[in-house]
């Protein structure tokens, strides 16, 4: 077996998204079409150059074979998977596999959802009153239904085992809010303080309101193509060095049975993705650690070895994860501040970081000219970013990972 055989053989050649909003006023089909159209334009591809399409959803979106014809695309391969966070990286791997198998040549991956105005990602509305059956009987009758409620036991145990504090973890929101203040697309551009976070109302202890991400209407798209094709396209190629996902813990149906419950799926994905890429955490310049909650970012950074297990609270509050720090995380502001995309936007952001063309407030950002002045309303480009890593999260026992280079 050659674990590194696909390293650098595939690229992300195009990225695109709609506006992030709380009132899209249109269908997931319309938004998907726009996001794909933008990614095609970004790549310099015609619609008919795409012959593969993948999406993920939770019965809250439009399937690929309805979206593709709107753009005149006939597909040689398509698939819509049920899944949420951590599907992004996994589908990039599946796209590479589909091309490698000869089923298609260029794959567009999209996620489209009215996560605020339709099926609320936070779990209120129709989801909260749906009939409870099967595996849901293990948790839902006890008032444990939303993502925050499902994860809080893990977060609380981490505080008990390692002495992690609310103030330490609040620094994730603080850092991401700084990054969002440099992002014209971000829903929340105001910088917040640790006191703002720990002073916000409780949602489910140990989560405050500002520990939680934003429900958002949006669509996002990534286009995957072989490296030799990428070199002829519009953008500087961004190479895929390694990909893992969706990796699970044992007993993922009821992961509380298999401790330590503070261990998350990244523990198992780590060797796969770093093995393929042939690098170590020290080589990574920028991370995109899924921030459905402040805690999820911290847990994954620990598990992938950016710090020792249990030292995540110190890591995220040390300044390392902020722009100007050693290894900024979620430079777009992420799900906590830019908007919630089920993980796609964090890969999109890292692609732009590696190109050197992050869409901040620098007047000539698109041409790669940046001030590297991280004061509010200025620049969010990381100077000379060479390697990025995405840490995708669905639940404590399910995750994916992606390493890219310029």
């Amino acid at each position: 077996m050659s674990a590194q055989s696909l390293r650098d053989k595939y690229c992300i050649v195009g990225v695109g998204e709609t506006e992030y909003s709380k009132n899209s006023g249109r269908t997931t089909r319309a938004m998907a079409v726009e996001a794909i159209h933008r990614a095609l334009g970004d790549a310099g591809l015609r619609a008919t150059d795409v012959d593969g399409m993948l999406s993920y959803q939770n019965n809250d979106s439009t399937p690929a074979n309805w979206v593709a014809p709107d753009l005149g695309i006939r597909l040689n391969f398509f698939m819509d998977v049920v899944g949420g966070g951590s599907s992004t990286e996994a589908l990039i791997g599946l796209a590479m596999g589909a091309i490698e198998a000869g089923m298609c040549r260029t794959v567009a991956i999209f996620r489209s959802m009215n996560g605020y105005t339709d099926l609320r990602i936070g779990g209120t509305g129709p989801r909260a009153t749906a009939p409870v059956r099967g595996q849901d009987l293990a948790q839902v009758p006890f008032g444990m239904r939303s993502a925050g409620q499902n994860f809080a036991l893990t977060f609380m145990r981490h505080m008990y085992e390692y002495g992690t504090t609310s103030e330490q973890v609040a620094h994730v929101k603080v850092a991401h809010s700084k990054h969002a203040s440099q992002n014209p697309k971000a829903l929340l551009k105001d910088r917040v303080t640790v006191q703002d976070v720990v002073g916000s109302r409780w949602i489910v202890k140990p989560l405050h309101l500002l520990d939680c991400c934003l429900e958002t209407d949006n669509a996002t798209c990534l286009i995957v193509a072989p490296a030799e094709r990428a070199r002829d396209l519009r953008q500087r190629p961004v190479y895929i060095m390694g990909v893992a996902g969706r990796v699970s813990k044992p007993r993922t149906d009821f992961h509380w049975a298999h401790g330590p419950i503070t261990r998350v799926a990244g523990y198992y994905a780590r060797e796969i993705v770093f093995g393929q890429a042939g690098i170590t955490p020290d080589d990574v310049d920028v991370t995109g650690s899924y921030d459905a909650f402040t805690f999820t970012t911290m847990l994954q950074l620990e598990e992938y070895g950016f710090c020792k297990k249990g030292e995540g609270g110190h890591y995220v509050s040390s300044g390392i994860i902020e722009l100007g720090g050693r290894r900024p995380n979620n430079t777009s502001g992420g799900h906590l501040c830019e908007g919630y995309t089920h993980g796609m936007s964090m890969v999109i952001e890292n692609v732009r970081q590696l190109r050197g063309t992050v869409d901040d407030y620098c007047p000539r950002a698109a041409e790669g000219h940046h001030s590297y002045d991280y004061a509010p309303g200025r620049c969010r480009q990381v100077k000379d970013a060479e390697i990025t890593m995405n840490l995708g999260w669905a639940m404590p026992p399910t995750g994916s990972a992606l390493i890219m280079r310029r």
């Binding site: 936070g122 779990g123 209120t124 909260a128 009153t129 009939p131 409870v132 059956r133 099967g134 595996q135 009987l137 293990a138 948790q139 839902v140 009758p141 006890f142 008032g143 444990m144 239904r145 939303s146 409620q149 809080a152 036991l153 893990t154 609380m156 145990r157 505080m159 008990y160 609310s166 109302r201 409780w202 949602i203 489910v204 202890k205 140990p206 044992p250 007993r251 149906d253 009821f254 509380w256 049975a257 298999h258 401790g259 330590p260 419950i261």
Partner: protein, 168 residues
């Protein structure tokens, strides 16, 4: 198929062909906490699934356990998602580690169950009384003549190790 059960605005659906939960919940209605025990390796498991997660054996028997355990983790829901829980916020959800089979077959594994921490009369326990390490016992909340929920209530036993709760 038995009638669905209404509980806190939720419809609990346990049809005759629910070969995982129907018997478990019916045994709970008899006020017995019963888990599936592998006929080959003799390890118990929860939830009541159809194969042994350690040896893949398909045969199993019901085994009664004491219902005694320790709070392994908890959360306090201040903002209820489900409308039927709004009148009991803030309410505690606990992860209870049962006394039986702790640290087997590997040191970090145990039989753990999600439930609410309730007072002996079944109402929600005051959130200020919840702490990791506190000792609990199972109590049964009858919802129909064929179904009860397994809940947990505090005992007078001293906590295991240090009792810990999130600082206010």
């Amino acid at each position: 198929m038995p009638e669905p059960v209404q509980y806190r605005g939720m419809t609990l659906v346990v049809p005759d062909n629910d070969s995982e939960w129907r018997e478990y919940l019916a045994l709970a209605r008899q006020h017995r906490l019963m888990l599936r025990r592998c006929r080959a390796c003799k390890l118990m498991r929860y939830p009541p699934t159809h194969a042994c997660p350690w040896c893949a054996e398909l045969e199993w028997d019901w085994q009664e356990v004491s219902g005694r355990g320790t709070i392994y983790s908890y959360e306090i829901v201040a903002h209820a998602i489900q409308p039927g829980f709004r009148d009991v916020t803030p309410y505690p959800v606990v992860l209870v580690e049962l006394d039986e089979q702790r640290g087997r077959p590997t040191p970090d594994e145990a039989l753990r169950i999600v439930a609410n921490l309730v007072k002996p009369d079944g109402t929600m326990e005051d959130a200020r009384n919840v702490a990791i390490g506190r000792r609990v016992r199972a109590v049964f909340q009858d919802l129909a003549d064929y179904l009860a929920l397994v809940q947990f209530t505090l005992t007078d036993e001293p906590p295991e190790g240090r009792a810990w709760r999130l600082p206010e």
